[in-house]
């Protein structure tokens, strides 16, 4: 069913040559800096997010080493503060979301049968900003100036008076900088999914992964401004003497927490939702059937993304807010478990009704279900105010969110990595190596984090750099540390598996899994133009559907080949009726220049070089103005009368 570059009945050799000429990029240094190809950018997101994952993971290993024995002296308290803050901040902001956006970048255009994202240059810009913002934040660690206030940076501990130095300025500016990338990528995903779907892919035929990415992008659009405002106020308070979080002049420290969690709770779903989308995308190939209850899963995705904005106070049950608000948010937090449960049962039903193909991606999906459900149980416990107040700020919380985030995000990512590696690289991975990696990661994860439930209940607070022997936490901490090394070995094996596939793997065919979505209906790795013939979609499982396959071979038409330029199709939002062919932008160095100017702007704000910052702001404005400057066209083409 897969299409390769050899001429098929539907497309001539001349068309293929023309497509190659319009879309291809020379393998030069210049093209490395100027590319706008969503597949290259997607790969970069994956690699860069993986790099930040390694840095954040190494920070965690240092912390676990420090905590292996009571009263150890591996790191100082100040270093420990920076390590746990950078670990959390990087895992949430620099690893989880960008990694999933990397999958989205690579896959969304392929899954919807398009040749690129809606705004390819904005896409490139988003990547450069992500890279620079990540380096901006990590660069502070060797200087001992990294954020040190926990990843949620509560006021008043973040104020200049209580926390002098650059630490929290790096945090505030770094996240503001990164927010530009996340917002632009989200807008790009929404518009791509709305307008660039292949003809015939009406909303009821959109793959679940794309639904998940779009819902995530909408959450970002409406949640991220709260965090941005919070960080802007924090920076103003610290640097310019405003009083937003300063009670002595009428400010309020709880404002920080409200704004942070108005962003922060949707952010939990911003991380988990696309990962759940990966699960829905991986399952059909390994159960040999479509996911059970497609409409129910779509409804769950949409309702989770709405309800997630109404549960933020459950992060604040210990702050002394009115009881009535606790009851409301406790109820909302309980309700949100229903759509999450629907998805879990839909996957279980899919596995029960399907024929299981027990390969590495499916192992990670099963590992995900086990781990995520355990994290969900403890999550439902936190929705009860009385219980929450007992265990808040203890290791029980740490156990809970690592079960949710490693179970709910890392396991699906690894499933997706093994599943799509043949598509991304054109190489198959080594199955036995992958199985070893799975069992080590799975065992390491549970050995590390299950004991945290226990010593959390025994009273060990989170974020302490050491502890005394008397409370009896020693043994369990040692178990956790051993587990974390096991987990690290497992993840190292994942990396070895990827490198092995890239260097030694056998070539992958276009469709090694006989998958159901459109990315399997093209070559591995895909040509720069993705599809020689843009498909016409006839069902929810286009790659399993003979009529869709026919539309790219014997049924191919010139209006879906579009070889006369760098073109793709725009279709209507709901029904994906064909609207017109559009010319797509070519590679450009402006995205990199703009991101570079922003890096100068944020760096000079950090070091209080305000004149430099002003110049950088002008360069930013000028670059945007030049970027969008309309090309000169003759009046007849423009349609000008006077």
């Amino acid at each position: 069913m897969s299409t390769t570059t050899t001429p098929s009945p539907g497309i001539s050799r001349e068309d293929l040559t023309r497509l190659g000429a319009h879309w291809g990029e020379p393998a030069s240094l210049r093209s490395w800096f100027t590319t706008v190809d969503h597949k290259r950018i997607g790969r970069r997101y994956l690699v860069t997010a993986g790099f930040f994952f390694v840095l954040a993971g190494l920070s965690a290993l240092v912390m676990r080493t420090q905590l292996a024995r009571p009263e150890a002296g591996v790191v100082s308290p100040q270093q420990y503060n920076q390590l746990f803050t950078m670990h959390g901040t990087a895992m949430i902001f620099l690893f989880a979301t960008p990694m999933l956006f990397g999958f989205g970048n690579f896959l969304v255009p392929l899954m919807i049968g398009s040749r690129d994202m809606a705004f390819p240059r904005l896409n490139a810009f988003g990547y450069w900003v992500f890279l620079f913002a990540g380096l901006f934040m990590w660069a502070s660690l060797p200087f001992g100036a990294a954020p040190n206030n926990g990843w949620f940076a509560y006021a008043p501990l973040s104020s200049e008076a209580h926390n002098p130095g650059l630490h929290m300025d790096v945090y505030a500016l770094g996240l503001l900088f990164l927010g530009i990338s996340t917002t632009s990528a989200s807008i790009n995903f929404i518009v791509t999914a709305l307008k660039l779907r292949a003809p015939g892919m009406s909303l009821n035929r959109v793959p679940l992964f794309v639904w998940a990415i779009v819902a995530t992008a909408f959450m970002v659009i409406f949640a991220l401004p709260a965090l941005n405002l919070d960080n802007a106020m924090l920076f103003l308070d610290r640097r310019f003497g405003t009083h937003f979080f300063d009670p002595s002049a009428g400010g309020n420290v709880l404002l920080w927490q409200h704004l942070f969690w108005i962003f922060g709770h949707p952010d939990v779903y911003i991380i988990v939702m696309p990962a759940l989308g990966i699960v829905s995308a991986v399952l059909p190939a390994f159960t040999r059937r479509g996911v059970v209850g497609y409409p129910l899963i779509v409804l769950s995705i949409v309702s989770i993304s709405i309800i997630s904005f109404g549960v933020w106070v459950h992060h604040m049950f210990a702050t002394g807010l009115p009881q009535l608000s606790y009851s409301f948010f406790s109820a909302a937090s309980t309700i949100i478990t229903i759509p999450s449960g629907i998805q879990i049962f839909a996957w279980l039903a899919t596995m029960a009704l399907g024929r299981l193909v027990l390969r590495v991606p499916l192992l990670f999906v099963i590992g995900f279900i086990v781990t995520f459900v355990l994290g969900g149980f403890t999550g439902a416990m936190f929705a009860l105010t009385a219980f929450d107040q007992q265990v808040t700020d203890s290791y029980f919380v740490v156990a809970h969110f690592h079960y949710v985030l490693i179970g709910g995000a890392v396991f699906p990512m690894l499933a997706g990595l093994y599943y799509w590696l043949p598509k991304i690289s054109g190489r198959m991975y080594h199955e036995r190596l992958g199985r070893w990696a799975f069992w080590l990661v799975f065992a390491g994860m549970h050995v590390t984090f299950f004991p945290m439930h226990l010593y959390g209940l025994f009273g060990m607070p989170r974020r302490v750099y050491t502890y005394r022997s008397e409370p009896g936490w020693d043994g369990w901490n040692l178990v956790s540390t051993a587990g974390s090394y096991l987990l690290a070995v497992g993840l190292l094996l994942v990396l070895v598996g990827v490198l092995h596939a890239l260097l030694r793997g056998r070539p992958a065919p276009g469709d090694p899994w006989e998958g159901d979505s459109l990315e399997w209906a093209t070559a591995s790795p895909p040509e720069p133009y993705n599809f020689p013939v843009l498909p016409r979609v006839h069902s929810l499982h286009p790659a399993w559907d003979a009529r869709t396959a026919e539309s790219t071979t014997t049924g191919a038409t010139a209006d879906r080949i579009l070889s006369a330029g760098r073109r793709t199709l725009v279709t209507s939002e709901l029904d994906a009726h064909r609207e017109r062919a559009v010319e797509m932008p070519e590679s450009s160095v402006k995205p990199l220049l703009l991101a570079g100017a922003l890096l100068v702007l944020f760096t000079s704000l950090l070091f209080a070089w305000y004149p430099v910052a002003a110049v950088a702001a002008l360069i930013v404005a000028a670059t945007i103005a030049v970027w969008l400057w309309p090309p000169r066209r003759p009046d007849e083409e423009l349609g000008v009368v006077a």
Partner: protein, 209 residues
């Protein structure tokens, strides 16, 4: 489904000739609407923070030593800024019919009105800064952050309008078939206008309630 065979037919058919005509909502329109949606959320968070801090503060608002904001100047500013959307609408309708002069005239009018608004805001700041600054207390912080942030948006909007005007004066930029950029900048300008109403109510009118 339009089935036509051959590359030649594709190059000379209705497809090739109609590709430049706007059909349906463009990607640019959706992009700008989403951008405005996230910006509007930012303003909602700003104004929400204002009311949160105000009601947590106590009955006396603005705090002791700061008078209720005077209304005359903000109302004049409103009278300048709100109608500034009309010339943009008029200009956009003009360029859709290919009338370049209407685009130029409309954009110029908006540019003048917007610049007047910013000048008035500058004089208001000059007056207020004698009484309180953003470091005086939380009221000062909120006042200058919210109005300053809006002023920054007006400045960005004016830059867009000025940029459009420059491009349209050069010629060869916009016409009946090419006005995406005009419409996108117009959406942004209308947004900047509408947000001002919310700010007028929050900052200037609500302390008098």
């Amino acid at each position: 489904m339009t089935d036509r065979g051959g590359v030649l037919a594709a190059a000379t058919g209705a497809e090739a000739l109609s590709t430049e005509l706007p059909v349906g909502r463009s990607t640019g329109w959706w992009g700008m609407v989403m951008f405005v949606a996230t910006e509007a959320t930012l303003f909602a968070c700003l104004l929400g923070s204002y009311f949160y801090l105000r009601f947590q503060y106590g009955p006396q608002w603005p705090p002791d030593g700061i008078e209720d904001p005077k209304l005359l100047k903000p109302l004049v500013m409103t009278a300048v800024l709100l109608p500034s959307s009309l010339p943009v609408v008029w200009a956009e309708h003009g360029i859709r019919r290919g009338q370049r002069w209407r685009l130029r005239a409309g954009l110029t009018a908006t540019l003048l009105l917007g610049a007047t608004f910013l000048t008035l805001q500058a004089t208001e700041y000059a007056e207020k800064l004698k009484h309180f600054t953003m470091t005086t207390d939380v009221y000062g912080s909120l006042f200058y952050l919210i109005t300053g942030f809006h002023g920054l948006h007006v400045l960005v909007g004016l830059t867009m309008i000025g940029w459009l005007l420059a491009a349209s004066l050069r010629g060869g930029s916009f016409g009946a078939h090419r006005h995406d950029r005009v419409r996108n900048a117009a959406i942004y300008w209308h947004f900047v206008d509408l947000v001002w109403i919310a700010i007028l109510f929050t900052i200037y009118l609500s302390p008098r309630l």
